[in-house]
């Protein structure tokens, strides 16, 4: 499990909140990779896009369509926020798949900050845009009157569990995938089953490539779903 270990970048062994660690390094690399893709990739602005520009355009239109389809047309002003979250998580996940790399999104501390930011944004936005009628989200007016207080308690609980499940889903998936790969790798010590171990690692690696993309997508689309609740609490 030492692949998830956090240690200071410039020696020493005390970790303060401001100490540059390997998490800081890999988050910076993820940010730089995203910036490189979008700034350098689209720098030439050719009519017929090259490979980098093609990827950048696909990502842009993909996230834009996702925001419009899920959260509605007036959510487009939050498109930069969703785009930032999506590209950062995607880059972090894929950088973690490089052998010897470090997955910053496998730490709950990293994902919890992003999920809490989404949660606070949605809560503040809901009350600023709708006032007290945002509380109508918890008062299910389509249900029978007797059931409504019960449903309100359940809705309230599920609302406050959101940042937890939002963050643990991403961190847990990343950590679980890398743990499974390292468990298969330890089977390689036994000569008899080592070919099976190699096949298992290759299969799990391919599965992880899929999971990394899907988890970034799920994080972004859940952000859109929560934003829709804030923008249109009555639908």
């Amino acid at each position: 499990m030492e692949q998830f270990g956090i240690h200071p970048l410039f020696g020493g062994d005390t970790l303060h909140w401001y100490t540059p660690s390997n998490v800081t390094l890999w988050m910076a690399i993820a940010t730089l990779a995203a910036i490189a893709l979008f700034v350098l990739g689209t720098a030439r602005r050719s009519i017929i896009p090259g490979r980098a520009q093609g990827i950048a355009e696909i990502l842009y239109t993909f996230v834009h369509d996702m925001v419009v389809d899920t959260a509605g047309h007036d959510a487009v002003r939050f498109f930069p926020y969703v785009m930032t979250l999506f590209t950062f998580i995607l880059m972090s996940n894929y950088l973690g798949l490089i052998p010897g790399g470090f997955t910053s999104t496998s730490h709950i501390a990293v994902t919890a900050i992003m999920a809490l930011a989404v949660f606070l944004t949605v809560t503040v936005l809901g009350f600023v845009l709708n006032g007290a009628s945002f509380l109508g989200l918890f008062w299910v007016s389509s249900a029978p009157l007797v059931l409504r207080p019960v449903l309100a308690v359940i809705e309230l609980m599920s609302y406050f569990v959101r940042p937890m499940s939002h963050s643990i889903r991403l961190a847990g998936n990343m950590m679980a995938g890398h743990t499974v790969i390292s468990v298969f790798a330890t089977f390689g010590f036994y000569a008899l089953i080592s070919p099976l171990s190699v096949i298992g690692i290759v299969a799990m690696y391919g599965f992880e490539v899929l999971v990394c993309g899907i988890q970034a997508y799920v994080f972004a689309i859940l952000t859109c779903v929560y934003l829709r609740d804030a923008l249109h609490p009555h639908h």
Partner: protein, 80 residues
Amino acid sequence: MSGNIVNMGAYIGAGLACIGMGCAAIGVGNVAGNFLAGALRNPSAAPGQTPMLFIGIAFAEAFGIFSFLVALLLMFVLKA
């Protein structure tokens, strides 16, 4: 054979928590299977509902991840 009875309980609990991961697998299969059944009946409506498929899978999967987390906590953090 020696050890701490608290450790034994933690490891048994971690194993029991893994049942939850299997149940989450049933849930994810349920979501994906029902989506496929619906998509085969009306293939033209399927692409528009793909985001709903992933949202459903994510919600079903979250509880499996929770039980995985409980197992990890029992094995590495709460161990006596």
